[in-house]
């Protein structure tokens, strides 16, 4: 599938104010939200668009309390880029499934469970141990 490289591309932009940044993030969210069915179709995912929307929402919620305008600008840029790559089908299915739609929360484990497992505390779990 061929795509036009400049499709969905946006020039880098600095938010003029925090309200501007807010407007832009809502716009970005809206774009993601609207293309959820398209993403499902494009990558032949076995999930509903509602689930994709849920995951997107989670990603956005994670950064809800970022108030630093510079950080918001960078985040906007990154997620805009991500959006472009996703919707242009420049990703593989695994990228979407394994990263974008991967569950963010690990199941809660009690102290004793962790102790028996011999893993460190959740918070300091080393990535490569592969434990979830």
């Amino acid at each position: 599938m061929t795509t036009i490289p400049s499709r969905l591309a946006r020039p880098t932009q600095l938010s003029a104010s925090i309200t501007d940044a807010r407007k832009r993030s809502i716009q970005l969210y809206r774009d993601w939200y609207r293309s959820a069915p398209e993403i499902v179709q494009l990558y032949a995912l076995n999930v509903s668009p509602a689930y994709v929307r849920h995951c997107i929402r989670e990603r956005f919620e994670a950064n809800r309390y970022v108030t630093d305008q510079r950080a918001i600008d960078v985040l906007l840029l990154k997620w805009r880029q991500e959006y472009q790559e996703t919707v242009n089908c420049w990703k593989q299915r695994d990228h979407v499934e394994g990263i974008l739609l991967a569950p963010q929360h690990r199941p809660q484990r009690s102290f004793l469970q962790k102790f028996y497992e011999g893993r460190d505390e959740d918070a300091v779990r080393p990535a490569a141990t592969g434990a979830i």
């Binding site: 009690s110 102290f111 102790f115 028996y116 918070a123």
Partner: protein, 743 residues
């Protein structure tokens, strides 16, 4: 962990050694160089610096930020001035000047980086290298060698000087199992000689011969019998003295350094644990003038190989007469079953805290035992099950109140039932330092020992204490006349049958002489602990109530407790041992839980001064071992009395609640004189009726090299025990011994 460390509570600069021995009478006027108060200023490399009068020029240069190469000069040793590497140029001086042997003069102009200086140092270096073997590739000092470092800058790649007969060859000396010698490499800086002579107090090391043939040694065949001998390895600027256990094991650049705290005694020496992979390769001291200056004891330095032997790596459950490895789940439920089976209720549940228990696990264990309805908390010492005579309500009753640097201010010290040389080797070197440089007088009550400084021997039992308190004898008079007197009571006194009355006598002595012994500036009543965990145990109140002490325990939890008397444990009691070594405690246990050793956990240690310090983990604990406090926390859940902390930060919050000092790291908070007096009052009241038997005080540490499970498992410490505590009969050595000296 993330607790604000207050700098305000740090003791301000203590004991300046400048105040050398100046007795009141008969002082000659020209010896008055010791009066050093005024500051002088001079110019180093065009930079104005101000240093106290009487400083060496090298100190002034350092203060100006100029690095002066040196071999013989060392901050903590006397100045020798024999390596000549520290040459600098001084204005109007015709020749370069050895900056260590030259006093800083007001208004002088000094240059440390001129062509003249450079050439002079190159010349010195050329002479040093003339006889230095080129064996850096097989030398253990390689990578952290002063000669190597400085020859990078001042050395030339070839020498103009050759001995026709070859390089000087010097026979290697045998200094014992700790220090390896390779005397060909020696550059005769005599740092080791000065260290042994001044700091360690072993006046056996010296220089023999003269000129080119001068060598360092003992002259007679002898080993260096000092508990601080390992420090000469650090001091040696070349590879002549290197560490024997570490020989050919690692290179400094491969090692990961972790700054931590030593636990082999209660001084809490600051150490740096050097590890590679999962092994601790060596332990180095870390300079801290408030605690250990730059020295650590040999046990702290060399006992680390015990960390690899006899470790408990999996939970063990006793079945019949042997231990069977189990999973954690099985082990913890076995404990729950055992507790249920014995039917231990209330005070029948006992916990004993050993020497190496960290503060976090002590707090967790106390909470757990209290949750189980028991008050039966004991420390691992003789009579540790009973509440300690000094009580734990007031900190100043069981801590080393004047602080370790404070020793240098004392002008009379009374040691009661303690041998600081073995109980706190580094602290002992402070007493020696003060004894050498000031008019300090030391009195000693207890079993006669070699303390590395002279003392007035007053006796060995309570009678001597009584006589001292009554003011009889020469030393008592000296003590009374002293401005800052200091009483050091050994930890063994509280274990002694007469301990209560000793405390009574001395506490009331302090009360009557409080104008000197207990002032806002000075608290001269101190207890010298010898176990790393003891101060913390007392701080958190890890002691039993009088009622609980009388109960026969049916369930005993040994936390690192390896000194317990097996006879004191009843046969039907269920014993749990938590610790890192399969030592005595593990043998007694029904269930063994493998914990982490001090190099494997980041925990709090409170030293004998009450200074909380945070150690850090250098290597992971082996096998299935876990952090100690986590084991207790997990057990609490299995026993259905869940402790309310899930991570170490929450646990430290709990510690904060118990005593904020436990988490105010690196600071000593002194007790105010009023509180200290109140504490003494309680102490005197509670021990008023104490009877005494008049038994002699014995030294608690018979063998310095083996005092805890780690050092007992250590091969190096076993070798030391054989070499230093056996008979040292010098006689005609056989041919074999002669050969060994050459090897």
């Amino acid at each position: 962990m993330l607790r604000l460390v207050s700098t305000a509570s740090r003791p301000s600069s203590a004991g300046r050694l400048g105040k050398t021995a100046v007795p009141p009478k008969g002082r000659r006027a020209f010896a008055s160089t010791s009066a050093k108060h005024a500051d002088i200023s001079l110019t180093v490399d065009g930079k104005e610096v101000t240093v106290p009068q009487g400083s060496a020029l090298i100190q002034a240069c350092e203060a100006a930020g100029a690095t002066i190469p040196r071999f013989c000069y060392h901050d903590r040793l006397a100045i020798a001035g024999n390596c000549r590497m520290c040459l600098v140029e001084v204005e109007r001086s015709p020749k370069p000047v050895a900056s260590c042997a030259m006093p800083a003069m007001p208004g002088s102009k000094v240059w440390t980086n001129t062509p003249l200086v450079h050439e002079a140092r190159e010349g010195v270096m050329e002479f040093l290298l003339a006889n230095h073997p080129l064996d850096c590739p097989i030398c253990d000092q390689g990578g952290e060698c002063d000669l190597q470092d400085q020859s990078m800058r001042y050395g030339s790649d070839r020498s103009r000087f050759h001995e026709i007969t070859g390089k000087r060859a010097v026979e290697d000396k045998n200094l014992g199992p700790l220090v390896k010698t390779s005397m060909n490499r020696c550059i005769q800086c005599t740092r080791c000689v000065r260290f042994a002579n001044e700091v360690a107090g072993v006046e056996d090391l010296g220089t023999t011969g003269r000129g080119n043939d001068m060598q360092i040694g003992m002259y007679v065949e002898k080993t260096m019998n000092s508990e601080l001998s390992g420090n000469v390895v650090d001091l040696c600027p070349v590879g002549a003295l290197t560490s024997k256990p570490y020989a050919f094991h690692a290179r400094p650049w491969e090692l990961k350094n972790t700054e931590s705290i030593d636990v082999t005694d209660a001084v809490g020496s600051n150490i740096r644990v050097d590890s590679r992979g999962v092994r601790v390769m060596r332990v180095q001291p870390r300079t801290n003038d408030d605690v250990n200056e730059e020295w650590i004891s040999d046990k702290a330095r060399y006992a680390y190989d015990g960390l690899t032997f006899q470790r408990l790596t999996a939970p063990l459950i006793k079945q019949g007469d042997r231990f069977v490895a189990a999973t954690w789940e099985e082990a913890l439920s076995a404990i729950a079953d055992g507790l249920a089976k014995t039917g231990a209720q209330g005070d029948e549940i006992q916990a004993i805290a050993g020497h190496l228990a960290d503060t976090e696990s002590l707090v967790a264990l106390k909470d757990l035992i209290n949750c189980l309805g028991s008050d039966n908390l004991a420390t691992d010492q003789l009579g540790g099950t009973a509440p300690p005579v000094h009580g734990v309500d007031v900190r100043s009753n069981y801590l080393f109140n004047p602080t370790i640097p404070g020793i240098e201010q004392a002008d009379a010290i009374l040691l009661v039932g303690t041998n600081p040389r073995h109980e706190a080797a580094v602290l002992n070197s402070r007493i020696r330092k003060s004894w050498l440089h000031t008019t300090l007088e030391v009195g000693f009550i207890g079993e006669r020992v070699d303390t590395a400084y002279g003392y007035d021997y007053l006796g060995q039992d309570i009678k001597a204490v009584q006589e001292f308190v009554a003011g009889k004898g020469e030393f008592a008079a000296k003590f009374k006349a002293a401005k800052k007197p200091l009483i050091i009571i050994g930890s063994a006194i509280s274990e002694h049958p007469d301990g209560a009355s000793v405390y009574n006598q001395l506490a009331s002595y302090v009360q009557t002489h409080k104008n000197k012994l207990l002032t806002p500036e000075w608290n001269g009543f101190s207890v010298l602990q010898r176990a790393a965990s003891r101060s913390a145990a007392y701080d958190i109140g890890f002691v039993s109530s009088a009622k609980a002490a009388k109960t026969t325990p049916k369930f005993i939890y040994l936390l690192n407790a390896d000194e317990v008397d097996p006879k004191s444990i009843s046969k039907d009691a269920f014993v749990v041992y938590q610790g890192h070594h399969g030592d005595l405690g593990a043998q007694l246990a029904d269930v063994c839980l493998p914990g982490a050793a001090y190099t494997e956990k980041s925990t709090t240690w409170v030293n004998t001064e009450g200074r909380a310090q945070l150690g850090s983990a250098a290597v992971p604990p082996p096998g299935a071992s876990r952090d100690d406090w986590k084991i207790i926390r997990a057990l609490s859940e299995v026993l259905n009395v869940q402790l309310p902390y899930e991570d170490v930060l929450a646990l430290r919050d709990r510690m904060w609640e118990i005593s904020p000092t436990l988490v105010r790291y690196d600071a000593v908070e002194s007790t105010s004189p009023d509180v200290a007096l109140a504490g003494l009052k309680v102490l005197v009241e509670s021990t008023k009726k104490a009877a005494f038997k008049g038994l002699p005080f014995e030294k608690p540490i018979k063998n310095f090299y083996m005092t805890d499970p780690i050092s007992r498992a250590s091969v190096t410490m076993a070798q030391c025990t054989r070499a230093f505590t056996g008979d040292q009969e010098s006689g005609i050595s056989d041919e074999k011994g002669l050969q060994a000296a050459f090897a």
